[in-house]
Symmetry: C2
Subunit: 246 residues, 2 copies
Amino acid sequence: MSRERTSLRAKGRKSERAPRHQRLSRDEIVGVALRLIDRHGLEALSLRKLASELGVTPAAVSWHVRSKDELLDALVRGALMDLDLPPCANGSWADRVRELHGWFRTKLLESRKLVFTPAFRKVLPYAFMEVGIAGKNILREAGLQGADLVNASRALYWHTMAFVFQEASASHAPPPTTTPKLVLDGAIDALRPEDFSSFVETLPQALDVDRDALFRHSLDCLLRGLEKELERARRPRRTSPARDHS
Amino acid sequence: MSRERTSLRAKGRKSERAPRHQRLSRDEIVGVALRLIDRHGLEALSLRKLASELGVTPAAVSWHVRSKDELLDALVRGALMDLDLPPCANGSWADRVRELHGWFRTKLLESRKLVFTPAFRKVLPYAFMEVGIAGKNILREAGLQGADLVNASRALYWHTMAFVFQEASASHAPPPTTTPKLVLDGAIDALRPEDFSSFVETLPQALDVDRDALFRHSLDCLLRGLEKELERARRPRRTSPARDHS
DNA sequence: ACCTGAACACCGTTCAAGT
DNA sequence: ACCTGAACACCGTTCAAGT
C-alpha cells in the first residue's frame, strides 16, 4: 500500500549492491530479514530489498529459500521454537500459573511484529504446547481433573494467547491524531447522550493503558474464578457452605 | 505471496471487462470488494482484480477511492460501525454481561476475515466504545466503582476482544496435514518424555475445540472472579475473614 | 552447488487526455 | 465529473546461462 514514488536509489552510483565477502547462507538471510523487519516493519520487507541489503541478486535469495512464505515460516520458527520454560516450581499453584504465563506473554511479545503473519498462526498450535502442558500439570496438582481440568487449562492458555493478540493489535494502532476524524465523529454520533460523560471519562485512559497491570489483573480475575471451581472440586460430596481459613 | 503462474484469463476473448450499465459508485466498489474477499480471501483482493470484476479500468476505482488503504478502511468501517446493541436489560448482572459479550463476539466474528487488517486495528478502539460503556454501566449498577470498576470492565472488554483475535487466528490455521511435518517433529522433540502422554491426550482436542463452549466457560471464570471482587466491595470496612453464604 | 541477468506476470498509483 | 490508456516503480518467481 501507500507506495512512495521517490527513487532515491539512483544517486549516481552504478554498482548498487554492497560487495560480498562470503557465501550467502540461510542463516544470514534470516538474520538480515529480522533486522529489516525490526527497523522498517513487516510490511516493508520484500525479497528484493532483502537481496540488495545482502548485496546479492533477488534470484540468489530465492535459491536459498523457496519462497517468501518459507522465509516467514523460518523467521517465526526461529523466534518461537526451542524456548526453555522457566522452572516455576515453588509457591502456590496460582503463583506458579502467574509466573508461567507472565513468561509466556513476554516471549510472545518479543515477536509481536510477526504476530499477524499467517506463518505465525501456522506455527503457533505446536510452538507452545509445552506451556499448555505445564499449565495443565499445575492445575492437576492443584486438584482439578477430567473435563474441569481441560476447560480450565484451555481457558488459561487462551487468555494469555488472546491477550497478546490484543496487545499486538493495540500497539500497531495509530495515535489518535492520525486516525481519521471521521471515525471518531461517527463513534460520538452513535453514542446516546446519557453515555457521553462516561465516554469522555474513559477516553484518555483508553489511549494509555498500563498493559502489564491489566494483564495481571485480568489473569487474577481468572484465577479467582478457578479457585472457586477448585473449592467445589476438592469437596465433592459435601454440601456445607464454603469457608475460607485465612 | 505464492503467486500462481497460470494466466487463465487470455481465453480468446479480447474484451476482458464486462459491459457496464451504470456509473461506478463507491458503494458498488465496497460491495464487490466484500464479495471478492468472502469468496477468495482477503489476500487475494487487488485493486486490479476488483476493477476488472467491476468492468472498469484500475484507474477508475482509484478515482473513487484514494488508495487501497482507504478502501480497506471503508470495508471495516462499514462492517463495524452503526451496530445496535442488544437491550440486555433483564436478569442478573452476570447474565446481562453474558448476553452483551455474546452478542459482541458474534458481531466481531462476522468480520473475521478483516480482523488481521491494519484498517481493523485502526477503527477498533472507536467502533465498540458503546460495548465498553454498556459493560461498565452494568458493572457499576452491580456495585463496583472507582479503580475496581475501570479494571473490571476493561478486563471484560479485553477478554472478548482478545478471544476473537485468537479465534480468527485459529480459524485461519491450516489443517494439520498441510502444516509442515518439521514443525510437529520439532515440538515433539522438545517435549520432555514425562509430558508425552499428556501431549497425545491433548492433541486431538486441540485440533477440534468447541469454541462457543470455551468462550462461555472462560467468560464464566472471569465472572466468578469478579463476583468475589464484588463481595469484597459490598462489605467495605469489615476485616473479618471472608465467608460464603450458600 | 551457487549465483547472475533477464524475463514474466502481477501489483498500486499517477496523469494527460478524452467525454 | 468521471473514466480510459499508458506509463512508472515495485513486487515474487522462474530459468537458462555462467562459474
